[in-house]
Symmetry: C2
Subunit: 258 residues, 2 copies
DNA sequence: GCAACTTTGTGCGTGCGTTCACAAGCGGCT
DNA sequence: AGCCGCTTGTGAACGCACGCACAAAGTTGC
């Protein structure tokens, strides 16, 4: 009569499936793909969920459920055929064609990112570099000319950039982000320690290196509470710090806490 | 009804509280701390949870709950006093004394990390650099001598290193990790695209740049399924995606787990 | 001093993500 | 050919995290 319930499976194909993949699973699927690539180089034909889970450090059941989101390509009693699975993962993750990347900010971090081979080798060629520093605009990095950020709208559109990376200082990030968005970039990876305001249809991922270290520092502190006196730790008292050579300088020297 | 508030509050102190802070909250606490530092520079004395939540892109209730994990230092009807809150956050996150960082691998990415000011400025001085490349061992970066990785156990212990950063190629990462662990390092931040095997008492956080891009590529692919034919560059996007529009925040703030 | 307003702190319902456990399916062995 | 063992795929329970909504507590104005 109305909706044939069986038709959900075949006809819809990947479209409906992709939209329903949980965000956490997407991150792991990318991890599986890289690991499978290494296994493939080592000549593996098939791999079981237990093996792949052990290598990637993931629960086997979770891995199987993740793979089920992109369709069932495993063989019961055997495992997964590596090559077909790699192909399916690449297609589901949108890696079947290369994604041009624009990198804004070629200072300390950006310069390294521009030369990082891990991007180009995985289908993300950095095709445009931008900065505002007159000393940087005009130079070549890895054979790519650094252009002025004001050229972002034109060049990004010309070269079909789909992903933008922001490696500028924090204060400049929002303006750069706006330029990228105006150029039609819908996905942005930022290293700037600010919250970017973007339209709802633009996806932003943030990598905050200082926050990563602070999270680790928290674990150090927690351990020292458990095992005091292990290393250089002293708990209370005048352990004050964090302030001197800093652009933040936020040590309130008032003892509010006994 | 009268609530007996004379509960178990003072005696527990921070020890029990720290252990119970959810991992996701710890990541956000670090974010609040940085934002508060900026607000403090701008002369703010107090800040309400709504204001701070707006700047950091977090739900106000979630923010208040996060802060409640480290103790209640807000004033009802007013907000939070910035300086005491900063101090409390620093103490809870273990930032009241500097954490020496060792960086292994001063190639492309590592070189940038060594010169990145964001670490030293936030209480994480990079105090030791290591590599295996004879062309790199012996040079100075930011005034720090690059030593051979075989010196890791001795130098890391000497300089009280508590955090290790690994920016080596993937194949070398595990060996470097073992050296750091043998030197007593309990927290490791790795950029190598491999799963590190460590003892249970060592904390590892992984930042995988290629995976980050692949996650973004997935979102590009998903959008292209919605709008086939829309390549890029169509400047004015009325690209309303699906009507879903769940107010999933713009900030990924993803926890990158090991 | 009292009332009205503001903001914190938190109990609770809801939804997502993870994990367990098991049925279904496939290949190899006899 | 048929049985056995192995592995996938998934239903269901568990746990965590998020966000709403409200009471408690403090401030401002009269």
């Amino acid at each position: 009569m109305t909706v044939p319930p069986e038709a959900e499976r075949e006809g819809v194909g990947d479209v409906a499936r992709l939209r329903s993949i949980p965000e956490a699973s997407v991150a792991r699927l990318a991890l599986y793909l890289r690991t499978l690539g290494e296994l493939s180089e080592q000549g593996a034909e098939t791999v079981s969920s237990d093996e792949l889970a052990a290598v990637t450090g993931v629960n086997p059941a979770k891995l199987r459920k993740d793979l089920s989101f992109i369709g069932s390509y495993g063989i019961r009693g055997v495992g997964y055929e590596v090559r077909p699975l790699v192909h399916q993962l690449e297609q589901s993750l949108g890696l079947n064609h290369r994604q041009a990347v624009a990198l804004v900010g070629v200072g300390n971090l950006g310069h390294a990112l521009a030369g990082y081979g891990g991007f180009d080798g995985r289908g993300f060629p950095v095709t445009a570099l931008f900065d505002v520093d007159p000393d940087l605009v005009g130079i070549h990095i890895n054979g790519i000319l650094v252009e002025h950020v004001r050229e972002i709208p034109r060049i990004a559109a010309e070269r079909g950039v789909t992903i933008g990376m922001i490696a500028t200082p924090g204060p400049a990030a929002q303006a750069v982000c706006d330029l990228l968005v105006s150029a039609g970039v819908q996905c942005i990876l930022t290293f700037a320690p600010v919250v970017l305001q973007v339209p709802a249809d633009v996806e932003v991922r943030k990598v905050d290196l200082a926050v990563e270290l602070q999270i680790l520092a928290f674990h150090v502190a927690r351990r020292n509470l458990d095992h005091p006196g292990v290393t250089t730790g002293t708990t209370n008292g005048h352990a004050l710090v964090n302030g001197a050579a800093d652009n933040r300088t936020v040590n309130g020297s008032g003892g509010i806490h006994s």
